[in-house]
């Protein structure tokens, strides 16, 4: 390979790349937060006695988990556009990632709830807790502990998947990289720099999740 690397264009573009990284982070955080909440609702829907709710939850989970994220982003951006509903790139990408994330989290919650012995709820209720109290103080904290690992994975995955947003015109980190690439043709330099930025963002996310999770695992640390 006969090529001279020049990093100056990358350094000059760095402020713009970092600004775009914030978009990446923002989109991922919002999608993850919404996905966590909707995912829990979907789990309860699927565990419900009502057939309509079960059907709704299962359909969502099936589609979200068994179609490519790229396809889901296209549906929200171009698909809805075909019906005259124009979501901005930002909204469409957040919506698509949330849709996807909620589907995956619903399944993760299911695993988490299965991991908590049914006797726990029964015991709490026998002690006079209401159904809500038992869920809030006894079951959910244990579920959260069980799903914390997969949830962290999911967050990393959302950050990386947000790069698909550039295909719906979102100028997040990848979109911005592509822009500078076609301006300067410094393809290798820009994509290398972006890979490093993605790596750092993902590592930061892991660190953040580890810190947030500390109170959850207090009991376990005390034991060991």
């Amino acid at each position: 390979m006969d090529y001279q690397f020049h990093w100056r264009p990358v350094i000059q573009a760095l402020p713009d790349l970092l600004k775009a990284s914030l978009v990446t982070l923002q989109v991922s955080l919002i999608a993850m937060a919404l996905g966590l909440m909707i995912g829990l609702v979907l789990y309860f829907f699927r565990a419900s006695q009502l057939r309509v709710l079960r059907g709704f939850g299962s359909t969502w989970v099936e589609i979200a988990r068994n179609t490519p994220s790229l396809f889901q982003i296209f549906v929200f951006y171009w698909g809805l556009g075909e019906f005259g509903i124009f979501l901005s790139s930002y909204t469409a990408v957040v919506a698509a990632l949330t849709f996807n994330c909620a589907g995956y989290m619903a399944e993760t919650y299911r695993g988490g709830f299965n991991a908590v012995n049914a006797g726990q709820d029964k015991a709490a209720r026998t002690l006079g807790m209401t159904r809500f109290q038992s869920m809030r103080y006894v079951v959910l904290p244990q579920v959260l502990r069980a799903i914390y690992g997969p949830m962290t994975n999911q967050f990393t995955w959302v950050i990386l998947a947000s790069s698909l947003g550039m295909l719906a015109g979102l100028r997040e980190l990848s979109g911005e990289t592509q822009y500078f690439n076609s301006r300067t043709f410094r393809t290798f330099e820009f994509f290398a720099a972006t890979a490093v930025i993605y790596y750092l963002i993902a590592k930061m996310a892991l660190l953040l999740m580890a810190l947030l999770g500390r109170p959850l695992f207090k009991a376990e640390r005390a034991k060991s």
């Binding site: 006969d2 556009g81 124009f86 015109g169 100028r171 592509q178 076609s182 043709f185 410094r186």
Partner: protein
Amino acid sequence: MKNTTVLGAFGALALLGATLATPAAADKLDDVLGSGKLRCAVVLDFPPMGYRDANNEPAGMDVDICKDLASRMGVDAEVVGVTWAERIPSLISGRTDVAIASSSDSLERAQTVGFSIPYMVFQFQSLLPADSEITEWDQLKDANVGVAVGTTYESELTDYSAANWPDGKGKITTFQAENDTYLAVSQGRVEAGIATDTAIANILQSDSFSNLKAGPVAPFGADIVGFMTQRNEFGWINYLNLYINHAYRDGTLGDLYETHIGGEMPDLTTVGVYY
């Protein structure tokens, strides 16, 4: 006596071997001639310059130029379909010898790759929904205009609207691909799109975009494009330049233009300056 003869023979052999083992530095032109194959990077989703025909074979003006160049060199043409972003990696990694891919010869890009002299000139034009009331270029200043990201017309349009439409209420929406721009105009997501005149003429012929029409031509400069190869391949660039010169003067480029786009081949020179 006998020993020296044997030694001399060995010496001569060694010298011959050394000559064979270290050939004079072969450049890209030598490589192409030696391999008997010219590998061209062509963007195949940019009709009528590059696309795939009904049989899924590469076709278009850029493809035909590659074939013509190869036949004049007496080698086989191999068209390598690339995306806009893959043009440079394909050259640098040695997968292709030249990019004939409608690439604008900006000074910024020329710091990375080597450009030939121009082989084609495009105009920038607006693309409108068929029922649009826009007839003058200046009416676009309050419109939401779509354009493919990283193209020359994106930067030209951005600079132009900043300089000439400071009070404009419009905005520029960027898309990843030309096709996305057409789709956005067709859906009504944007009120107008900007693309090259040839691409617009081409899509207006297709059935899928019957709800579109060509709008006013942009007042900013023409889009001048060249072949690209590695920056240090001077011998190869010289050859490519001479090829373009020949292909223009013997009418080959004009014929290809007539076939693929229709009408008169644009002038490739810039008045008042040497290239």
